[in-house]
């Protein structure tokens, strides 16, 4: 499996983690800019894949604000990026719960035709180009997974984190991460099976 270890990303950067932390804690502009430059992409990607939407700018902003506000509580027991992933994943969980509540209320108030209209839009997406079609199906399949499974697919298969780091982020045992990841992949593969067969024949 091709993975991009975040440690490699960190080592490429100029500022050492301790310097970056001290600078951010002291409110130095260059340290804040470095934090954004180094972690914006990872935080954005995780949010997009976990929420299934590109409209996450405000969420990403809230996550960075939360990270900076909590920086004094960061004890350095894990790497900074693992701690940031943890905050990102937890924030996305809260957002998903909020959206679920909001969607439930909005669906209660929508007339039936509108709900059916949404379904019709989803069907028309399948008439797009092949790559877009695959992406749409993947997004939909990922979105239909249970959040705990989706997190695992995103962190392991998309972000390429180790089992150990995922266990730290989710605060569970490494063995549980492995067994859940297997279930998550099986569930995703099942959702994509029919499409995969048709797509590659």
């Amino acid at each position: 499996m091709q993975t991009e270890e975040p440690t490699a990303v960190e080592s490429r950067a100029g500022l050492a983690e301790a310097e970056l932390l001290a600078g951010c804690r002291a409110g130095k502009p260059e340290a804040l800019n470095e934090l954004v430059r180094r972690y914006h992409t990872a935080v954005l990607r995780v949010c997009v894949s976990l929420l299934g939407s590109r409209d996450v700018d405000d969420l990403v902003q809230d996550i960075f604000i939360k990270i900076l506000r909590r920086l004094n509580t960061f004890a350095g027991r894990s790497a900074l990026f693992t701690w940031m992933y943890e905050i990102t994943v937890n924030h996305c969980r809260d957002e998903l719960r909020r959206r679920k509540r909001k969607r439930w209320f909005s669906l209660q108030s929508l007339p039936t035709e509108t709900v059916e209209g949404i379904k019709a839009d989803e069907v028309s997406a399948s008439e797009r180009l092949e790559t877009e079609e695959l992406h749409a199906h993947l997004h939909a399949a990922l979105k239909r997974l249970e959040p705990k499974y989706r997190e695992l697919i995103v962190l392991r298969d998309l972000e390429g984190l180790s089992y150990e780091k995922i266990a730290q982020i989710q605060k569970v045992d490494e063995k549980l991460v492995k067994s859940r990841l297997y279930q998550a992949r099986q569930a995703l593969a099942e959702k994509m099976q029919k499409y995969a067969e048709a797509f590659h024949e």
Binding site: M1, Q2, E4, C24, A26, G27, K28, P29, L32, N33, L35, V36, R37, H40, T41, L44, R45, V48, S49, R54, D57, V60, Q61, F64, I65, L68, L134, H135, L138, H139, L142, I153, V154, D157, L158, E159, Y182, R185, Q186, A189, M192, A196, E197, H200
Partner: protein, 163 residues
Amino acid sequence: MSEAEKFDQHPEDAALWQWRDDELNKRERHVMQSHLDQCASCRKGAANTERLFTAMRKMHLAVQPTLTEQMRLARILEKQFVREELPSILVDASRRLVRWLAPAAAILAALFVLLREEQTSSTSALANLLPETPESQLLLADTDDQYQQAMWDVALSLEENQK
């Protein structure tokens, strides 16, 4: 079970995932590879899965913040978290002020203590001079309670005198 039989059996899904993650030992990997070489159905399944996950990872990695988005985020964070440092001229002035204020405060505190002691000693000197009567207690009262008590004592002594 012979090696030949193992090659003939379809592997379990869990083993296929372990093979994909390169988590099988050397012997298990050999068995799996031999089976995949022979079994077109498993080979096709594994290839489909690999294509899907590759596509998904490609889709994930294609998500990039634009330069504008990065700049906007950095500006928002700077606005909230950058602590403006005071100009050095102000810092020097405040240090000078503290240097002058500290001795002045110490002198004021010493004067206050001295005056208080003097006031206490003058009150006690007066007490020695005055006779021990309710009226003199009225003069020596420091607090409202003492004053009120002295007033009562004066009133009672007047009443007794009248009797």
